[in-house]
């Protein structure tokens, strides 16, 4: 067994598999285990699994301790370069300072997480002087190395990472922080708006984007422009905002390029791999978990996908029976995305799904329908919001009866 990625999802899958008696090797490209949690020093992790609000490192350490107790083999500073899938054996090629590492295994769990979108991907004009960062880079710089990026900071993006970084920079002694974003209101979680932005009176400008970065060697500022509801710049509203640092926090994208190269099917909505109810990709015996599948707001949910994949690996290795025809699961009109994408195994376990709504609603019915539009199941959610990935359980016999399942908000 090889697990690629030593973040919380990879660690959780490894621990479960080792407990089941499989021989697991974890490959991690960073110098230590723990994934992005090691730089997320704020609290709020583990409220579902442990009913406590741990910090990122504390949560990750729970699993790292387990990995050490069980003596799971792991390599850090080891980057997986390629994976070949044969009919039963899989070949993993990884690089580290000792050289090239070749491993063959019967099943693989990918847990490579997500990466940040860059300013290049959102078409920002102007120059590229020093002082332009992504939020994750800054989080690492400040929390791990203790270096502040600048004195007057502009943050682009009203998501969680941007807000968390804004608060942190302010507390650590940056003189001025301003946040701009194209939406009418922050896209991130309500808790972060309250405790990161409003608590500290951090100034912010909705419906505003960076038109141009200004500066030769170092950032001198940015030209800001107002946008309309379609995020189209409104001419004549340009203003110059002086600052020495611009931090982009404009979204996360699953690290799925390796899987794509291997021929795994990719969902254009999540930009992660298409998976079945045990988080197996379209390549048999190749599993994908955590933020690689879709960006999870709760690490607890990411960890759940890892536990499910561990069950799936066992089924795969034991050659358990699959259905003649998989049942597709898909999001309806008001859902932006949903995983898993199909139910493929013949067993009795209820299906755990995660979805993100594209609308904000209080007391919202989530309705599942079969292929012909007949309702098979409904459940009431207190709130659904685009900012929150929701969890849903669907009874296996309901799925069995339907030829396909479409889930939507009503």
């Amino acid at each position: 067994m090889v697990v690629i990625g030593g973040g919380p999802s990879g660690l959780a899958a490894s621990v479960k598999l080792e407990e089941k008696g499989y021989d697991v090797t974890i490959l991690e490209s960073e110098r230590e285990l723990g994934g992005i949690l090691m730089q997320c020093i704020h609290d709020g992790f583990g409220t579902k699994l442990f009913n406590e609000a741990f910090s990122g490192p504390e949560f990750a350490c729970k699993f790292i301790d387990r990995v050490r107790d069980l003596d799971v083999e792991y390599f850090t500073n080891t980057f997986v370069k390629s994976v070949k899938v044969g009919s039963s054996l899989k070949e993993v090629v990884a690089l580290n300072r000792q050289g090239v590492l070749k491993l063959s295994c019967r099943a693989i769990v990918f847990a490579t997480g997500c990466r940040e979108r860059t300013p290049f991907e959102i078409k920002v004009g102007g120059t590229r002087p020093a002082g332009v960062y992504t939020a994750g880079m800054v989080q690492r710089l400040v929390n791990v190395y203790g270096v502040l990026p600048g004195k007057k900071v502009l943050i682009v993006g009203g998501g969680d990472v941007g807000m968390i970084v804004a608060r942190h920079l302010l507390l650590e002694g940056v003189e001025e922080v301003t946040i701009v974003f194209p939406e009418a209101w922050f896209a991130g979680l309500a808790r972060n708006v309250q405790q990161c932005v409003l608590d500290f009176g951090i100034p912010f400008k909705p419906r505003t984007v960076v038109k141009e970065i200004v500066g030769k060697e170092r950032v001198d500022g940015a030209v800001l422009v107002n946008v309309d509801e379609q995020w189209k710049p409104i001419e004549g509203t340009e203003v110059f905002h002086p600052c020495d640092t611009i931090i982009f926090s404009v979204g996360l994208i699953p690290n799925s390029s390796q899987l794509e190269e291997m021929g795994a099917e990719i969902d254009p909505r999540t930009r992660g791999p298409v998976v079945n109810e045990y988080f197996e990709t379209s390549l048999k015996g190749v599993f994908a978990v955590g933020n690689l599948v879709t960006v999870f707001d709760y690490v607890d949910d990411a960890v759940e996908t890892a536990f499910l994949a561990a069950e799936g690996v066992e089924k795969y290795l034991q050659g358990e029976e699959r259905r003649e025809k998989p049942t597709p699961l898909s999001p309806g009109k008001y859902l932006r995305l949903m995983v898993p994408h199909r139910v493929e195994w013949a067993d009795g376990r209820d299906v755990v799904a995660f979805f993100r709504s594209s609308v904000e609603k209080e007391n919202c019915w989530i309705v599942a329908k079969d292929g012909s539009g007949g309702e098979i199941f409904r459940t009431l959610k207190r709130y659904v919001r685009p900012t929150l990935l929701e969890r849903l359980e669907i009874h296996r016999d309901l799925v069995d009866k339907a030829g396909r399942v479409v889930v939507d908000a009503e």
Partner: protein, 122 residues
């Protein structure tokens, strides 16, 4: 009187309604778990926050050690806590949960290490 509080304890962000009369809380609604019930009552009576930051660490593979207050501190003390920690330097090895500063900024709350850090080379 009734206030609506957004629970900040986890990403769900439940809207909790707290009703109170003459200083005592009469009903709490809308929380997703007990952490949130506790939080919402606190937020109305005496708002508090967990403070997370980093301190300088020597002889470790990294320059900073993430730390946090072991319990929430009053909201208006957050900046003071961060200030009090600005000059603190510790030496590796450090164990997770180890107390780094006792009774920080007179809050009677301790600041603890969020992670283990082994000493460099050891």
């Amino acid at each position: 009187m009734q206030s609506e509080v957004i629970c900040v304890r986890c990403p769900k962000g439940c809207k909790v309604k707290v009703a109170f009369e003459g200083g005592s809380v009469t009903s709490v609604e809308g929380y997703g778990c007990l952490l949130g019930r506790e939080y919402a009552v606190q937020e109305v009576v005496n708002p508090q926050r967990i403070v997370s930051t980093t301190v300088r660490v020597l002889k470790a593979p990294y320059q900073r050690l993430p730390v946090r207050t072991s319990r929430p501190v009053p909201k208006d003390k957050v900046r003071e806590v961060v200030k009090a920690l600005a000059g603190v330097t510790v030496e590796a090895p450090v164990k997770r949960g180890e107390v780094i500063v006792k009774n920080v900024a007179g809050t009677s709350v301790d600041v603890i290490a969020e992670r283990d850090l082994e000493s460099e080379g050891g």
